[in-house]
Symmetry: D2
Subunit: 362 residues, 4 copies
């Protein structure tokens, strides 16, 4: 079952609410002997951390991760032991405020109504369990996952904000660390800054598209039918807050292609190895990795917390208007970039172990 767990052999279980004392996760099934420190995990967490630019929420969280189990010293280094790795972050900036309004009103676009329908109650403070704060633990678990498949490199970038997409001819992976949008295209990043300033100041919000790419993934990961690599990747990405769509390789564009255009032809390269002339498949055929880059994209809806009043209803069944004040990301797609990266890493780590289990390779 998977209410709050993800993965099979490499399995992540997260817990915690936005305004509870802490959030955390348990990473189970990690191979033993892998060097792992808090500092390494912190690097990824810091990329997702709020409050780093004017374009993300001003909540100030140190997001300092603690490793509470599953590591020990070997040969002078701290390594994984093969037992569960418990990671925790104390919540430090949960402002005490009056939640009675949120408690009694269903904010449009939020999970208020559905949690209430499902459970009969909910923790309204900062969205409770439905808060994007949970994604910090995905990033932490992803930092562990990244160490499992040898030579694998997982990266992600924001490729569209609102209607404006990056120019792929200017794609530069180095660029994503240099601007507050994880944009691989410096010029588009500048335009986005203007766009988002305008949106932010008007109290509005905007959607986005994120692209994740994994290099160095060996051929053979995945499984036919219900353990497809792209299936688990879609599941992973769609589990991220606010995501409304996911595509692999050519994705929805494939609908408009002919068989001739879409089929990635193969040939023997100069090095005597098989290579593909294109990657419409996004590195996955029949649910199994080809050895090419794994390429996926996902759409993130605009933040539902906006200053413009929206019609809604109260728990007691009266019409009302909702305005969401407070600290919010005008484009949650930005901080979804390291989260998408983490989820891809988790899926690949899991399938790497599953493949090794069934076939004994590599």
């Amino acid at each position: 079952m998977s209410h709050n767990s993800f993965g099979h052999l490499f399995r992540v279980t997260t817990w915690g609410e936005s305004h509870g004392p802490a959030i955390g996760c348990v990473v189970d099934g990690c191979p033993p002997g892998i060097p792992l420190t808090e500092a390494e995990i912190q690097v990824d967490l810091d990329r997702r951390k709020p409050g780093q630019s004017r374009f993300t929420t001003q909540r100030r969280e140190a997001d300092e991760v603690k490793i509470l189990s599953g590591v020990y010293e070997k040969d002078g280094r701290q390594v994984t032991t093969g037992t569960p790795i418990s990671l925790m972050i104390w919540n430090t900036d949960q402002r005490s405020k009056d939640y009675s309004e949120i408690e009694n009103t269903f904010r449009p676009g939020h999970a208020d109504f559905t949690y209430e329908m499902k459970y009969g109650l909910r923790d309204p403070r900062g969205g409770g369990r439905s808060s994007a704060r949970e994604t910090a633990m995905r990033v932490a678990a992803g930092a562990v996952a990244k160490k499992i498949v040898p030579n694998m490199k997982v990266r992600a970038a924001l490729v569209q904000m609102g209607a404006r997409a990056v120019d792929r001819s200017r794609w530069d992976w180095e660029e994503i660390g240099r601007n507050p949008f994880f944009s691989p295209d410096a010029k588009t990043a500048e335009l986005w800054a203007d766009d988002l300033d305008r949106i932010r100041k008007s109290g509005s919000s905007i959607g986005a598209v994120v692209e994740v790419v994994a290099e160095g993934v060996p051929a053979g990961l995945g499984a036919p039918i219900y353990g497809k690599l792209d299936q688990d990747l879609a599941s992973a990405v769609m589990s991220i807050n606010a995501v409304k769509g996911v595509e692999i390789g050519a994705g929805f564009q494939a609908a408009s292609l002919t068989g001739e255009e879409n089929a990635d032809e193969m040939e023997i390269g100069n090095d005597g190895k098989i290579r593909f002339r294109a990657n419409n498949a996004g590195g996955i055929l029949g649910g199994i990795s080809t050895g090419q880059d794994i390429v996926a994209r996902f759409a993130v809806k605009p933040t539902s917390s906006i200053l413009t009043p929206r019609a809604s209803v109260t728990r007691s069944g009266e019409n009302t208007q909702v305005v969401t004040k407070g600290r919010h990301d005008p484009c949650v797609g930005i901080r979804a970039v390291p989260v998408g990266e983490a989820m891809l890493a988790i899926v690949l780590a899991d399938h790497y172990l599953r493949h090794r289990g069934q076939t004994g390779t590599p």
Copy 2:
């Protein structure tokens, strides 16, 4: 684990190859006492069956389903007993032909290469396990799933073929049974007939987009974080052969929307009940159903089996050209319509039981 199983409380395990003696599935966890006959399942199977028009493969399969377990008479009707339901279809039209060419060549766009990389061997006859023939068992299992959520109605339609989409102003669910494309728009169906005749005669193929809609789904199905309804729906749909993208509600369009445009406002209707003014969310907020229609779309790539020669390589590492003769669907998206419908039904049945398990409702 889920190599060949899908779902949790309502769980489907499929088996079988395109050209083996039979294909089948085991449906586990079905509630007891539900009336179920082979004839009812057959209705859905017949909608997916090949060879029903010139627009689908000419393979002639009766696709007659047999129920081998899990049912018994009660009060004069055959009902489920709560134990596993085994469904089977004998393969009857696996033509004996020479597979040595396919056996030694990796067809571009097919799973030949990746199965070989994963397993070191594969059953090349008709694609073996990677054949779309497996989807017949999804439809059979889906026919069972449709009976579980009271008053739920799941339907699907082809909404785009190649670059041509249906005109939504002409949408008529009655129409999907009247044309060979499951088109909800009669006029577009006529244009598609011309399009596909041209493609078929040239030995080419084309992609498509399918939309699935579930009405009558109670609010509260789904679970936060890793048991999200949309997550499992994405997983279900992406597990279908040739699917390259999936979106919920506004989907990728949400990336271009502002928070004001995207938030589905709520109000108290004349009947005193809560209603939504829009459904950009596709009936799911925070991973949990709102009570609105569940709406998803998925992109199907063009069939990789085409008559135009494509560059490829042999198992022994030589360059070659591949032409795929034989019986193929020029647009696999068409027969994916009942398959998508079935997968949505399976996801909803599973979550209905899961929700009832945790909360005791309804």
Copy 3:
């Protein structure tokens, strides 16, 4: 979830009722490239088959297994492909008789009452799903499992029938194939023959204890806490019909031992390898295999189908007397021997793949 499935990476799902058209199982996760024929599986099935002596039920089932998927030719041999292996046996000796009495009465010691309480109905013909007939598929799946761990040998024997136990000083594995009880002690087998003739003729039945032993299991299989090898072994064995107890190594005797007596001391053997001086642990410490023989025992209750009238009640709530006529095993423990063997093999195959997945060895 595991209503009707067992195992994780090596996963068996069974289906079918005693008097339905067939019984079957799906074996998922089997490594590819393993030689597998119906004849090999049949060898184990024939050891469990009813009607082979006067000491087992006279139901006459050929129990001929069919492989319906998951195998293909490679280098002139039929091998597994890594995709699901579907195994099926047609039921051929389900006598048509009147089940109305059983349908309306709860037989003491049978699952009649509890199935009815759970599901509100049941298939009464031959016990339906609760029939020991299901165990044929465990044996079939176990025959596959036995081929996965290199050099592993799994065997089982009947070590007690009623109050009479074998004399371990006379233990001879060769003997188990020579008597109708799978007794490792020829002399006790003779005494059992007399015992059971008397019980059988009086229309009674008797319990038994089975011991299963796996040799050649590498050290390191299992997992701490909730994936313990002995835990999964206990689960596997307790899932067999009529089993009421299971123990590992010294088992219940360990309660009476001191720490000095119980601890299996270790030493470096003449070959320079670590060896244990005893095996009270049954080859498992901390849930993980030591490399010694895995040793387990389980208790099987007497068949509940007996000729002596027993007090019971009808579905409509009246007191009644039940006499179970028909064909039954006077000691179901006998045919449980190959079943226990199969379940141990399945657990070990699963843990072998899980261990390989997490650690990369062997």
Copy 4:
């Protein structure tokens, strides 16, 4: 997968080492709206806590549980929200000592050797993950589980220590809270005090048998074949450290019974309800609860940590002698009593939710 998780709909994941900073668990799938406080959980933890008499280890742990997520105020009470409940206990009495001897030697009867074989390293401090300290989290999770099945009462008692068993004619549940052994028989408790003083002073240890009983369990819990209630109970109990055997109802005694003796006859009671005349089945038939008491017993081996030198080997392959100094339980069976109780509660809570999911009752 279940390396460190147990259960399906009610699912417990534990983490932590004996001498790490903390131990904890995540309880997922708990129904919403159940009142839950730290104080309630603490009651059960205090029953398991070390150092409460001279008969258990002198390690001094406050074992104060913290609830970190999954609860919120409703109508003035703290209740579960349906989201994951994270429970944590800080380790406070991990004495700093020199572990180099344990690190380089495999203690007989301990998991030292097998963890090393599996993972290539281990945390030697206090047994690391293999420490019985993990069972504190089972008790904490069990305290939650006990609140799920209405009117259910789960209790456990020590029924045998060494060769000495309680006199069942003196069984008094009230007594278990009055002596340091959880004995239901005051007189035997006195004799055990003498026995264990002698054993403790000699630096030895002794095994034990625990009996767990659940009253008020509705009929219908469990599932046929691989979701049997007794199977999951066996799995739960065998996962507890040092357990070597488990039996249900008559258990191993059933092997010596005839069908007449073993079958629990049924009748209509004076209240018009069905009742059983005996409970050899331990409340479970065909894997499903009958509505009678669920009765199970398990054998606990003697503590492997003893003062008498035992032969063993070092990691570098030399013969050595091991004496285990430090703080240990001379009979770990005693503190296993609340642990067994907790595991039974967890199994029943899980099956209660599973049953409700599939059938909609109760």
